[in-house]
Amino acid sequence: MSTIPVGISTSRPIAHLKIDEERGRYGMWLLILTEGCLFVDLFFSYFYVGNRTHRWMEETAPKLHYVLPMLAILIASSFILHIFGEKQLKKGNYGMARLGVVITIIFGLGFLVLEGLDFREHWPHTNFMSDSYGSVFNTILSFHAAHVIVGLLMLGYVLFLPFGPVDKTPYRPLHNASLYWHFVDVVWIFVIIILYLPPNL
């Protein structure tokens, strides 16, 4: 056998390569892909069941006065997390980054409180047991709320990580957690567009 490695180009010698911290990001994107598919399936079920029954859209349109502020809160939280959390952490402003994460978590908790109020308002007439519309509507909302809680747990975990130049910065964990947080926000936009706006038009 000849011993010349043909066609192997290394930009840098292997000894000088960095430790790989990107795998988690790939994993997070794939998690988001599969969770996104879950919501696609849930929305599909909504349309499918709705298409088969004539009664539900016009009956009681879901009220918008809680969910639109909730939308504003989530979108604002995403921007805060990106601008004050991630960007500041990348610059090395650990205190500012920590504050950004804390504010995001508070916004997320506020979202959950408002969602609870919304549930309290629509539950008496539109609940799991009322009819198929109530079943699918509340299931989608509950799934989203569960994802908000998971997102909050991820952010909470990042908050407890040792910030600062100790061993390695928690930039990657924060980046992954905020990817998930943005995903949860995007799902909420679809919830508004699909579940809330059309019946109110």
Binding site: T3, I8, T10, L17, E22, R23, L38, L42, T53, F128
Partner: protein
């Protein structure tokens, strides 16, 4: 060179022989072996259920089992084989061989790998706990609503079905994510995307199918469980629900799933046929493209499982055409294998025989599939024995036979011992003949009108002879599998030592020891062609020792397209967290089945805490 280097690597990679290490291991070789052994055990369990059914059906009006028990038997047989055998055994091959094929030292997420193994085992236990208590699911493996509703299926059998499947989807999706990241990020330098062994393409396609399609099953099972325990109305017409929703979701998952359990098996064939024909595969790009396109098209054919529910002509034509398109892609692969044999010099080893048997059975199953893709024929044959005949020709032809080809091909690498060829060939012929004797008559009994899933039939319908033939064939088939099991255990003791490369193989796994050392490769290999073991390039050439990477548990990350070195990847240490997390989830789903809501709440909180414990950064051991 340097046993000192090897010793250093060994110290880092070998896990101690303690009970804790057995449960905590993240080594893909150990987990791969466990996957293979566990899935094979499940094959045997599902097979015994099938044999009991065949005994019951051997003659008219038998009463070996009660009708209720027969319902549970065919359901558990289908569920076990399709979910807990067919995909996990292929995952076993992938867990073991993907890192070896790409010259990496482990998968991208080794602890996730341990987690998916444990959830796979525990979900099976969850399912069979219902069976042991006499309340197994009884609605078939696709469990069409509304029969599965609490009103028609009381007890907790269907709850166990739904919850065990959700736990299983977690396991399978995690495995898919692991394979995707590993294959796209950890290939040996130089193994660009156009030089990947075909098995990697089929695993990659399979993984994407899992990631995209499994949530539909999760959603369907969640709706079912909510209907049964929380009084929702997803599948109840009286409250505006629709039982067809279950079918839509289940088959949107179900048809891609067919390719999840089919594509890696074709990948195995594309690995061993070239080696035993002594030439690279013919039409590599076409085989790759048809593998990927089978996966893509697989998302557009699910309605063909539902032609008889009533739908528009447009929908039927579209899905009928889609189903026939799949036959085109499969044919491309089959013709590539035939051309490889035609242009090569085939050596009829046992593995090659199983590959040939797979092709023969797959063609028969494929043709009966084209027949059922024709809508009028499907209406005629729907719910008759023609469908079990078709599904078994496809699944045994395209899963069990390739799996045996893969076992005979790769077990010498795993155990270090050769399997006996004479016993192997006996096993093949007994299996091949038994299989055809068992399942070919089912086409005929189906056309004659025998419905599937009926526990017996009256005499005088001319079905007795066909059924007796099927039963005899089924037992011959089982005997054939037993010969291979015997062969395997005998080979562990008496088998010839395999050495590094008993078949003069084509791909990188044959460059390692048999069984591979815990660190697998001393130097991360480099690759310049599709057949790294057959070209003139020395994949271990490393004059500066820069690819040894012995400063820790390390391997190499490369770019996804060209596989240029990008970074050094740390492989985590053994950990018990994956096992604890799987147990917590097992308790959670078990509690949901039994309606113990406080236990469920406690175990889900425990799961969150265990997840934190899992990902919390631990100090890395660095070798001096």
């Amino acid at each position: 060179m340097s046993t000192a280097v090897q010793q250093k690597l060994l110290d880092m990679w070998e896990s101690p022989h303690t009970l804790r290490a057995w449960f905590a291991t993240v080594d893909h070789k150990k987990l791969g072996k466990r996957y293979l052994a566990t899935a094979f055990l499940f094959l045997v369990i599902g097979g015994i259920e099938a044999l009991i059914m065949r005994l019951q059906l051997a003659r008219a009006n038998q009463a070996l089992v009660t009708p209720e028990m027969y319902d549970q038997l065919f359901s558990m047989h289908g569920i076990t084989m399709i979910f807990w055998y067919a995909a996990p055994i292929l995952s076993g091959f992938s867990v073991y061989f993907v890192p070896l094929l790409i010259g990496a030292r482990d998968l991208a997420f080794p602890r996730l790998n341990a987690f998916t193994y444990w959830t796979f085992v525990l979900s099976f236990i969850l399912l069979y706990m219902s069976a042991i208590s006499g309340q197994a699911p009884h609605a078939g493996w696709f469990a069409h609503a509304p029969y599965t509703e609490l009103k028609y299926s009381p007890g907790y059998g269907m709850d166990a079905f739904a919850m065990a499947l959700i736990l299983f989807t977690i396991s399978n999706t995690g495995g898919g994510i692991n394979f995707i990241v590993t294959i796209l990020r950890m290939r040996a330098p130089g193994m660009s995307i156009s030089k990947m062994p075909i098995y990697l393409y089929s695993t990659l396609t399979m993984s994407f199918l899992s990631v995209i399609a499994m949530p539909a099953l999760t959603a369907a099972c969640v709706f079912l469980e909510l209907d049964r325990h929380w009084h929702t109305h997803f599948y109840q017409v009286a409250y505006g629900g629709d039982p067809i929703l279950w079918q839509q979701l289940f088959w949107f998952f179900g048809h891609p799933w067919v390719y999840v359990i089919f594509l890696p098996a074709t990948g195995i064939l594309s690995m061993c046929i070239p080696v035993f024909c002594r030439r690279p595969i013919v039409g590599y790009p076409y085989v790759v493209l048809s593998t990927v396109l089978t996966g893509v098209t697989g998302f557009g054919v699910w309605l063909h499982h539902m032609f008889s529910i009533g739908m528009s002509h447009m929908a039927m034509s579209f899905f009928s055409a889609g189903s026939m398109t799949i036959a085109l892609f499969t044919s491309v692969q089959i013709f590539a294998w035939i051309a490889t044999m035609w242009r090569g010099r085939p050596i009829l080893t046992t593995s090659m025989l199983f590959a040939l048997g797979a092709i023969v059975n797959l063609v028969i199953g494929g043709l009966s599939g084209v027949a059922t893709a024709v809508v009028p024929v499907d209406w005629q044959l729907h719910e008759t024995y023609f469908l079990p005949a078709h599904i078994h020709y496809v699944l045994i032809g395209a899963n069990v036979f390739p799996v045996f080809a893969g076992l005979y091909y790769w077990l010498p690498k795993i155990t270090g011992r050769m399997m006996d060829e004479i016993k192997g060939k006996w096993s093949f012929w007994v299996m091949f003949i038994g299989f055809n004797v068992a399942f070919f008559p089912m086409h005929l009994s189906g056309i004659a009108g025998m419905p599937r899933r009926v526990y017996t039939y009256p005499p005088g319908l001319a079905l007795g002879g066909l059924n007796m033939t099927s039963t005899i064939g089924a037992f011959i088939f089982g005997l054939g599998i037993l010969i291979s099991v015997w062969n395997f255990f005998a080979s562990l003791r008496y088998g010839r030592l395999a050495g590094k490369d008993p078949w003069r193989g084509e791909t990188l796994e044959w460059a390692t020891d048999s069984p591979p050392a815990p660190y697998e490769v001393e130097h991360i290999p480099t690759v310049v062609s599709r057949s790294p073991m057959w070209d003139d390039h020395d994949q271990d050439y490393d004059p500066d020792n820069e690819r040894i990477l012995d400063q820790g548990r390390l391997t190499l990350a490369t770019t996804w397209l060209d596989a240029n070195p990008l970074a050094i990847t740390r492989i985590p240490e053994d950990s018990l967290a994956p096992l604890w997390l799987s147990i917590a989830l097992f308790i959670f789903f078990g509690a949901i089945i039994m309606d113990w809501m406080l236990v469920a709440l406690a175990s889900i909180i425990l799961s969150a805490l265990l997840s934190f414990y899992w990902v919390w950064p631990k100090p890395q051991k660095e070798a001096a």
